[in-house]
């Protein structure tokens, strides 16, 4: 009797769909919160969200991020407010994909996406610079830097919600 029970289990699994995927032909669907390689996001108006504050670099336990900041002007604006990231680099060989950078970012500029197929033949290629990380502006939006109307984008951090 026990033997039959045992074989029943085996047969059940024979009929089930296999879990093994034929990677790379087949790719698994990811959970929404899967932490793959990073993206630097833009606001809907095309300005960069990143303000070059280095908080992600400070939070990063692997010391994978390098930020150098510079000053915006209305003639050459990258992001709202006074400061933007002149240099933004992530070393993907150091990154442990913990997502602390995402948590630390005050403007939700850095977000871990779903791309996970990272392989390099040279260590230096593992350093993703800002141009590789930043999203393209939405359709119809101008890229940065760009000239904007004076005195509009004065606030670096988006408005706080009413806490009441």
């Amino acid at each position: 009797m026990n033997i039959i029970k045992g074989f029943m289990t085996t047969f059940k699994h024979v009929l089930e769909e296999p879990v093994t995927l034929q990677y790379p032909e087949q790719v698994k669907d990811f959970e929404k919160r899967y932490k793959g390689r990073h993206h630097l996001r833009r606001y809907d108006n095309g300005l960069e969200k990143c303000i070059g504050c280095s908080l992600c670099a400070a939070a990063c336990p692997a010391d994978a991020i390098w930020v150098e900041a510079a000053e915006n002007s209305d003639e050459e604006r990258y992001s709202p407010g006074e400061r933007y990231a002149k240099t933004y680099e992530i070393n993907m060989l150091r990154c442990i994909f913990c997502g602390y950078c995402e948590d630390a970012c005050p403007t939700q500029a850095i977000q871990l996406g779903h791309e996970h197929q990272l392989s390099f033949t040279d260590r230096r290629d593992a350093i993703y610079i800002k141009d590789m990380l930043i999203d393209a502006p939405a359709d119809g939006q101008e890229a940065t830097p760009r000239q904007v109307e004076a005195g509009v984008y004065t606030q670096s951090i988006p408005n706080m919600e009413d806490p009441s």
């Binding site: 303000i51 070059g52 504050c53 280095s54 908080l55 670099a57 400070a58 150098e68 900041a69 510079a70 000053e71 407010g81 006074e82 400061r83 240099t87 005050p106 403007t107 004065t154 670096s156 951090i157 408005n159 706080m160 919600e161 009413d162 806490p163 009441s164």
Partner: protein, 848 residues
Amino acid sequence: MVTPVKEDTELVTINIDGKDYQVPKGGNLVDMAKWVAGNDIPVFCYHPKMDPVGMCRMCLIELGGVARDRATGDIQYNDDGTPQIRWFPKLQTACTQTVNDGMYIKTNTEQVKEGRESVIEFLLTSHPLDCPICDKGGECPLQNLTMAHGNGVSRMYFDDKMHLNKHYPLGDLIYLDRERCIQCARCIRFQDEIVGDDVLAFHERGRRLQIITNSDPGFDTYFSGNTTDICPVGALTTGDFRFGARPWELTEVPSISPWDAAGENISLSTRLDRDFGGKAMIKRVMPRQNEYVNEIWISDKTRFGHHFTRSDNRLSKIQIRKGSNFSESTWDSTFKAVAKTLKEANGSVAAIAGGSATNEDLYELAQLVTGLGGDKLGAWSPTHTGADLVAQVGLPEGSNLGELGAGDAILVIASDLEEEVPMWRLRLKTAQDRGAYLVVANGRNTRLEELATEDPNIKGRVVDGAAIRYEAGSAAAVMANLKKSNKDIAKKLADANHLVIVAGAEGLTLEGHRALVQSAANFLIDSGHAGKVNSGLLVPLPGANGMGLHYMGFSPETTQDIAANPPKVLIVLNAEILDDDPTAKTWLSQVDTVITLGYFMDAIARESKFVLPVQTFAERDGSFTNGERRVQRFYTAQGPMGDAIPAWKAVGNIAQAADLGRAKLSAAAVMVAIAKNVAAFEGITYKVLARTERQFPDVGGDDKYYGGNAYQNTGGIGKQIALSGTAKSEKVTVPDALKAGKGEIVLLPTTRLYDRSHMFIPTVMVRSRVSLPFVHLNPKDAKALKLADGDYAEVNYDGGSVRVRAVVSDDVSVGAAVFPRKLTEKATPLVPTVGTITKVTEPAQIEG
């Protein structure tokens, strides 16, 4: 140790949170609680270097005192025998309390916590959410105190906040963010109380209260950068560091200002930088506490002048002359070639070194020259002398200008200290504010004279000062005859508890300066002040290491001797001889070979056979001896530039190639040799120089709010060299003042803090403040020359001529034209000389 407790300080007992402490009477409660009990009472507006104002209410505590019977004054006791305490019904501000016997305070009760929390909440009602982009973020008192004492949740939201100008340049150097200001008035009070230039002020009222500057042009005192350190928020930031890095990313390297005789202690904040080839780069310069030297302040020149270390014009390769061209070379072959040239000179070798060479460089250079059989070691520039007398009657070990006060006296003669050694001017002026008698003697008006003699009623302070205005060039005679011609002043100086004399060289030839310094030494010896702690002689020697030059055997008199008898081979170290002195080319042309070690391809380098690039203070270890004979070390901070190496190394290797012994391997090893062979340096090692001690006030520790962002001294407070020798009062022969013939005029070179020297001009942000070249004339002289204020004039002197603006006012004396050095790229007179001034009618190009 710098402490508030001296041998004769009266102590009182106060009780903090239930424990008794002995503290010096009259101290400030916040200072004392921190010093004796390590109790950090949070403050915003209070600053240990300034008078309390009680504006921010952050320092609330419960305050009480021992209850006494009103009639008898007896202490009242509880039943259990403990004294009764009478508590104030409401919280009190600690910063406005002076400690007295029987004072009781509580800093950890519910009421105090609530008080602090409310003050923080109030300050944040309109504070912008700027921390991520704010240059102060990470070392911000408001951030720190909010974390420590604030309520974790905010009841305010952004839309309700006050919106003001976020990017207001107060001047070229300092930016104001009006939203961030918490109206503590520290900046205003610093300018007013410490600097003596009250150019900042509040404007409007209530929530709209804003900082404004009422100086024109902009906020441009020589100390403006210090306001950014003591501002407890990011309202004041420097243009230099703007978005340069986040404070926690910086590596702090202890260093010493390379500019002047004060030897300000600084911290070089460095960080790796893409634009600097991935090397460590100085991002900003911060003060480092040394209560003996610069307290917690630095001058703007020190703060912003670091750019020359990375200038594109820095010499990065060895240059060897072939005919009229230069070609590059490697160190090894250069050492050999230079050694060969030196040996071939058969002992006809001399060296001239400038004030930015370190003790180590100078020692090795002296060894090389004497090893080769030469004996002439000249100090540049030959404008100031008297270092030997400073070594004998200077301020003795343990002295501190910060201790001068009531009953003491200071004489500043023939020096514009504001332009020459701004830190001394700041400390001597604050000494006057504490009650010292300050006399300023000069042939013209200077900023310190204005400050010393300004009407005390304007500021409501009782300050005691006097000015002596003498005929230009007669400083030595004035000092020698002080007791006769200025009886009252001389008596007051001689009778003072402590007397400091600063003897500059303005308007004097080298011989004249020697006479002045000797007369000043005589005065100190005769009055019995020589050798007394906190009394003595100071000379604003040019460069950071004027005293080091003396101790290593270099003297300005020898420089004159070298000029009179030029050697076959001359080694020039960090001395811009041809840029500084228009007459130098005559004697330099008789020198066969010049070997230059320097930072730039300056005029003397272009005339040299060998040009060797050496490292600045930023890239290497070394030490300077400041004007008070304090030996202070600095550490390697910035990545190297090109092939430059430290000068001691270059010189040591040349000596090795010339078979004069092995080159030393480190700066520390050179210091060991110095300690062995230079008597004054006995016992000094890098380890001794790195010693620190606890200093009052306790600034720059973990808190960062109490005294601002000055850095705690971790690199060493240095070691003051003891006085040596027994100077006697000597008879002085005052050389005759220069006399101008018909149609001529005496030109008196002066020093300007901001000039067009190779070292300073790369500081782009300050360039607009470098004055255009000018000659300053008395109206009488101007009339004779038919010049009006603002006219163009051509100044002709031995060795050149230059077109400048004429400034006409009676701030200068008759018969002499003040003609600042280094305001043009052309060499202008280094020492007083006779020249002519003619009006230029066609629109002339000012050579800036």
